[in-house]
């Protein structure tokens, strides 16, 4: 096949994957509402088919362009959406054994892919401009996309669900005295070493949580924390790899370019979140708000900087 045919093949598979995600998303929402096993089985099957098509789409894009398939905004968006779905399947369904959140995770990916389509990010496969032609791009961009997809899952999707569920639980349980917050105050006489674990759930536990569309808030809270704690070192690494790349390409590892600045801001906010979790009175809802602010900052890092703020990282098309 010629490069052009590979590119067309990649686009067809992209559309197929988007279509599959849409159907699967509707299915997952139906499962969340009705809790019928066959709905979940069918949705999961469509989801996996979509994931497979998406993987093939990304791979054939790489074949068409003769390079790694993450060189511009279109390709980042596709890969980001793919990794969010993959992370959902592996982490939330695989590790946490929670099945009811597929619709929300898929909605994020569908949105990302939809914005890529409607925002006219598409550019034909082409070789990279010299500055992007470094092996650090492979390392930096992969880490950045994995980090963003996990932040999107933890700081965006799961945190929103936690806040929604927490709001509902508090309204329903207003009569019940809430359990005391097991906060470990951080001060010098009581260093965080001895503080209660930052990853311990706040609020109702699995046993006491009532059945509903969503898992209990305590479970959502813990999943959000774990996902963010998983993403943070990856993001840190992505920023460091980006600095090394910048040193090689532009002669300075840090120049307060808008992308650098915003990835640093995102990093600071999530660092603040992790500290907040270890501080008394800052768990649960208040920490969740910090995580949401971090998510907004992530979106600015990803979209606004590329599209609206001109800097060295404005890679939308060429």
């Amino acid at each position: 096949m010629s490069d052009l045919e590979w590119a067309r093949f990649s686009n067809d598979l992209f559309n197929l994957a988007l279509f599959a995600y849409l159907i699967s998303m509707v299915g997952y929402f139906a499962y969340m509402a009705f809790r019928r096993e066959p709905i979940w089985v069918a949705s999961k099957a469509v989801l996996l088919a979509g994931l497979l098509a998406h993987a093939a789409s990304i791979a054939s894009r790489g074949v068409a362009a003769h390079r790694v398939p993450w060189g511009n905004m279109w390709e980042y968006s596709s890969l980001l959406a793919f990794l969010v779905v993959l992370a959902y399947v592996a982490v939330i369904e695989g590790a946490f054994k929670v099945r009811s959140l597929g619709g929300v995770a898929l909605a994020f990916s569908v949105l990302t892919m939809g914005i890529a389509l409607l925002g006219d990010f598409y550019v034909g496969p082409a070789p990279l401009v010299p500055a992007l032609n470094s092996y650090w791009i492979k390392v930096h961009v992969v880490a950045a996309i994995i980090g963003s997809s996990l932040f999107a899952l933890g700081g965006g999707v799961l945190t929103c669900l936690y806040l929604a569920k927490d709001f509902k639980e508090r309204r329903e349980e207003r009569a019940v005295v809430p359990p005391p917050i097991m906060g470990g105050a951080i001060d010098l006489n009581d260093p965080p070493d001895f503080a209660t674990g930052a990853d311990e759930p706040v609020g109702l536990t699995e046993q006491t949580g009532r059945r509903g569309l969503l898992p209990p808030s305590a479970v959502l809270d813990r999943m959000a924390y774990r996902t963010i704690a998983f993403a943070f070192p990856i993001w840190t690494f992505a920023v460091i790899a980006g600095a090394i790349w910048a040193q090689e390409a532009w002669g300075r590892y840090w120049g307060w370019d808008p992308k650098e600045t915003w990835s640093f801001i995102t990093w600071v906010i999530y660092a603040g979140y992790l500290h907040a979790r270890a501080t008394s009175g800052w768990k649960g809802r208040r920490a969740a708000v910090v995580a949401l602010v971090g998510f907004v900052s992530l979106l600015i890092t990803y979209y606004a900087v590329n599209l609206f703020i001109v800097g060295l990282h404005s890679y939308k098309g060429f």
Partner: protein, 514 residues
């Protein structure tokens, strides 16, 4: 009281110190740093995009005045930004010293025996066959093998594991501090600037070599290396669509005395390092060789580095012509010439005919459009010509190899005396390469610190501190094994670890078969 004022001074110093020591202060300072960065990314910055700052100042004079007073046009160089960084460093140190001391103490300290072990969140009892003394010894071995730190007293053991969490956290924070220190040191003692070198010419690392584009650190003493770079050849490769493929500068790196260090190829992502500076491929441009003769006398002969205006929205940068200025101060009246190079003459024609911009990436029948002005040269710059009090004399087009009269704008006819009048010719078209030259001795410190940040982060986030107590009591011909324990973090994972540990201890101390 005589000691009153000094006491209150001491108190307020202590109060400031206590405030700086709290994690809350460090976090607030970190968030202030983030907030300042937001401002820096939304408002155009002088070091990054000066032309935008000037544009903004023209459009919003009042806001620009306020921003400029507040230092918003150079956030990362503003005094208050330095203040935030300084306070953050002090606050971090103030946080970290006592924490480090506490950790060292707790790591040195033996695990403490517990009085009541059955009240811990995890507690198990087992009957075992070994006598209490021997069972204590084997249990101690089991715990040691599982990397617990163990303290023993008579028939009871106290063990703990997972100091890596706190040590990792400390490493992370100290390393973060080291990044800031390394960056301040490197930027403070170093410099960076742009060097434009025309093919065939030699450039010297000195203040004059940077032509005003130099940025020096606060503690830089002016000791430029004096080393030289001779550009032998610059090569750029483009695709037909104008997307750049590769830029290569073939250079000789020279000692200050002109002797060769080595030849090198500098390309994007492949800088050259020598004499303590790093040289990066940054940009390129055209440098036509121009000769001006006045009645046969050579007034100017040599390459002139041309530059481009910033392309308007929707127009490819490489479709724009290149501009240069030539000044002839020795003439009376003085003469200044503005030159506009179209490296691709066919693209020029096409643009004139269709109005569509055409990207010019290779030289094909290059032409120079020029305008001659006569009058006093007031602007001392080599790049600009102030024509406000000058008189436009002539304009014309100059092809490569042609000789054109500057006063009429017309090409000399064949057979005309080439030594008559003021003429300009364009014998050759060269390129120049722009290098970003920088000296930053702190890079290695920052890189090392960044690696330590990552190394510290992993145990700080993913390990947990666990404490276990074991007691062996003799009774009724059997020994009772009692195990209690808890995890400070990751409690949900500890249940399984604890029951595995109890099983291992029971096996070692002789399991009683039912």
């Amino acid at each position: 009281m005589a000691c009153g004022p000094s006491l209150s001074l001491l108190r307020s110093v202590a109060l400031v110190w206590r405030t700086l020591r709290s994690m809350r202060t460090a976090l607030i300072l970190l968030l202030m740093l983030a907030g300042a960065s937001v401002i820096g990314s939304l408002i155009p910055q002088l070091p990054n995009s000066p032309e935008k700052v000037f544009g903004y100042t023209a459009d919003h004079p009042l806001a620009a005045e306020i921003y400029s007073r507040l230092g918003f046009f150079d956030v990362f160089g503003a005094w208050w930004f330095s203040l935030i960084i300084t306070l953050l460093v002090v606050s971090l140190i103030a946080c970290l010293i006592p924490r480090t001391r506490g950790t060292v103490r707790s790591v040195r300290q033996k695990p403490i025996q517990a009085r009541e072990i059955d009240s811990f969140p995890h507690y198990e009892e087992r009957n075992v066959t070994l006598p209490a003394g021997a069972a204590t010894t084997v249990c101690r071995k089991v715990l040691r093998r599982k990397l617990f730190r163990v303290a023993a007293s008579e028939n009871s053991l106290a063990a703990e594991k997972g100091s890596a969490r706190e040590i990792g956290s400390l490493l992370f924070h100290w390393a973060f501090l080291l990044i800031v220190v390394g960056a301040i040191y490197g930027k403070g003692t170093g410099y960076s600037g742009r060097a434009a070198v025309i093919e065939g010419e030699t450039w010297t690392d000195s203040l004059a070599g940077y032509d005003g584009s130099i940025r020096t650190g606060r503690f830089f003493g002016g000791d430029f290396s004096g080393s030289q770079i001779r550009l032998k050849d610059f090569e750029d490769t483009f695709r037909a669509s104008g997307i750049p493929m590769d830029f290569v500068s073939r250079v000789d790196l020279l000692n200050p005395d002109g002797s060769l260090v080595r030849a090198a190829e500098i390309r994007v992502n492949h800088p050259a390092t020598f004499a303590g500076v790093r040289v990066f491929q940054y940009g390129f441009g055209w440098a036509p060789v121009v000769q001006v003769r006045d009645d046969g006398k050579l007034l100017w002969s040599g390459p002139v580095a041309f530059s481009q205006d910033t392309a308007p929205e929707g127009v490819p940068q490489l479709a724009l012509p290149w501009r240069g200025v030539l000044k002839l101060p020795s003439l009376d009246p003085q003469v200044g010439i503005t030159l506009e190079l179209w490296p691709d003459g066919q693209a020029f024609l096409q643009t004139q005919l269709t109005g569509q911009p055409v990207v010019m990436v290779v030289a094909r029948d290059p032409i120079i459009r020029f305008t001659t002005y006569s009058g006093p040269l007031t602007d001392p710059s080599q790049r600009r010509l102030d024509t406000s009090i000058m008189k436009e004399q002539a304009a014309g087009i100059l092809g490569q190899g042609q000789v054109v009269d500057l006063t009429t704008g017309r090409a000399l006819e064949t057979g005309a005396d080439p030594n008559a009048g003021l003429t300009i010719s364009f014998p050759d078209l060269r390129k120049y390469s722009v290098f970003e030259v920088s000296r930053d001795n702190g890079v290695w410190m920052v890189l090392l610190a960044a690696i330590l940040v990552l190394l510290g982060l992993l145990p700080a986030l993913y390990t947990s501190k666990r404490k276990v107590w074991v007691r062996l009591e003799s009774g009724e011909g059997r020994t009772i094994l009692k195990v209690g324990g808890f995890a400070v973090q990751r409690k949900s994972q500890f249940s399984k670890e604890f029951s595995d540990l109890v099983a291992a201890l029971e096996r070692a101390a002789g399991k009683v078969n039912p």
